[in-house]
Symmetry: C3
Subunit: 263 residues, 3 copies
Amino acid sequence: MANLVTLTTDFGDSQGCVGIMKGVMACINLNVKFIDMAHDIPSHDVFHAAFVLKTAYRYFPEGTVHLAVVDPGVGGSRRPIAVRTDRYYFVGPDNGLFTYIYGENEFDAREITEAKYTLGVDSTTFDGRDIFAPVAAYLSLGVSIEQFGQEMSDPVRLDIYRPEYGKGLIKGHVIHIDQFGNLITDIERDESEQVMDFRDVRIRAGDLVIETVSGAYSDGPPGEPVCVWGSHGHLEVAVSQGRAVDSMEGMDRGAEVFVQANE
Amino acid sequence: MANLVTLTTDFGDSQGCVGIMKGVMACINLNVKFIDMAHDIPSHDVFHAAFVLKTAYRYFPEGTVHLAVVDPGVGGSRRPIAVRTDRYYFVGPDNGLFTYIYGENEFDAREITEAKYTLGVDSTTFDGRDIFAPVAAYLSLGVSIEQFGQEMSDPVRLDIYRPEYGKGLIKGHVIHIDQFGNLITDIERDESEQVMDFRDVRIRAGDLVIETVSGAYSDGPPGEPVCVWGSHGHLEVAVSQGRAVDSMEGMDRGAEVFVQANE
Amino acid sequence: MANLVTLTTDFGDSQGCVGIMKGVMACINLNVKFIDMAHDIPSHDVFHAAFVLKTAYRYFPEGTVHLAVVDPGVGGSRRPIAVRTDRYYFVGPDNGLFTYIYGENEFDAREITEAKYTLGVDSTTFDGRDIFAPVAAYLSLGVSIEQFGQEMSDPVRLDIYRPEYGKGLIKGHVIHIDQFGNLITDIERDESEQVMDFRDVRIRAGDLVIETVSGAYSDGPPGEPVCVWGSHGHLEVAVSQGRAVDSMEGMDRGAEVFVQANE
């Protein structure tokens, strides 16, 4: 086992919630090592967290447990879930956080029902502490995923946008906005380059037309919009030394972006 | 020893102060492991930090050192303090940060005066680096608390609100606001259920009357106020998928909350 | 080796970027330990990050690798750099982040060109993941700095202000603003006390005249400006229980501060 647990939450850094989850895990596995993935996920934004997990999970050692708690439905009927893929484990609420993981991997998903692997506390508002942290710690110790509960064939998947890769025209969407205000689309490089020669395209995002894909955010003069293939292989709309999301009206998550091959 | 040190500060994450404290500790005990509890405590808000420590300290392995630096009086006459309870250690300024710890535990408190366990730097503005971090590191190494200085019989305690549990009427106060804007009161579940049947109560908070204690924040339609027993056993006033603190005028820390048994 | 890597970035805590860098390092050196220095550096503010590194790097065990990624020119022509001083290593973009390190140490700087120590990913927008994290991990494993590339004699240095220590008059500048809004100047204690007796001086900052250097931020009544020798040995202008930067118009980075000896 890697003994590694990553943590992705919307808990911020003012309340001690992440610390408490780590304390719970350290009580179960004193050798566990923690890597914080993100704790300033916008409150209750499952889509944002799902995208962060998509871009990050592959960069960790085999056996890493990815614990994610963005959980607007805590205490309600949504199920707690543990998932095993070929190389990793995922633990959190079954609300779509792992949508991209399911799309990219074979997986075994379990509804967490085995009480002996949870804290057994009479509380319904902090499952991160009471259920997800202990399960992650037991997974990091090598407890087999079958031990936590029955297989689920139907874990919740978010209703995510789907890009359309047509001959000469790609239609995509802004699916994420990063800390620099860059607009990240669902247009992926590998698929795109199969339908189009990107040396001669026009990209349309809102009122904006961009004529080239640059190699760096800093290409072009400050304040000018640029398109780049971002670090996760997605087409991004950025503003050189600025924040695209603030300077382009209406370009929020869901906004359409088009790539058109020139004649 | 657990070799574990938690850190609770108002230092934020832009200045390197927390990193410096960890570096100082790593120089003294290279095997020390750190768990960040909270670093976005509102500046100088000792009450907030005291509540975070109250809710968190029990979830850590025996021997854990809880280091807390929210220290508006740094460089002044307030004393540096190290505290031992049955299972844990606490280090920080003697300004009331550990008020709840004293209330819930037998303890041995020491004024830190032994210079050989501090950095001995000629500075008066960063005792976190110069005094508290080294003392925490030496505690994590197993140095006995008696070594740091004389016993103090009178550590500073905050003037905290006290709820009144009457037959048929409980009077409490908002004592904390969490990252989701939930109002956490000092009304505790165990005491409350001894004086009242919570299946038939009315809760009054400002202009608001709530007729039931829900099982989850997400009970009731979005935007509606709900009461829940929070994860720390305190009665909370929340707004389903919203922020109670923003939608309820005047309900800041100190505001009164009443629970009345129906006839 | 200390097996210790510190991280200083402007990546915030909402995107998973810091987590990804740690995952990359853990894949190369599973025993590496991480200490977060600062991740809320203002976006692209190389001056801010350089100051944080200056104040922090000395407090870590020998052999610590200081990884810093504040990188507005990512993907452009700026070079990736690895630096060795007597006790530490530094890795990041060659944009001046290590200006103060060069000024205070003998050093060996290398342009990172050896592809086998990088991820070899076809991306130009996240060198933190693809170049700097792997190089830091290999340094933490003990790979010699000569292995990463050719020596650079001319690493980029920021154009930083220089204080003037005259007989009876010191002229300095605000070079940093900390999380409490304190104005930190480039006037250093050791140099200052050689040209002046600080028991009898007048300090002028904007419209303000302060007649004494206090021992603590909390000296003087709330809201009053005070001067202190800060924890890094620099003269600071603060407001007791307030934020100097918000109450003193025009006192931003670069503003002049004068210390005059009284007759």
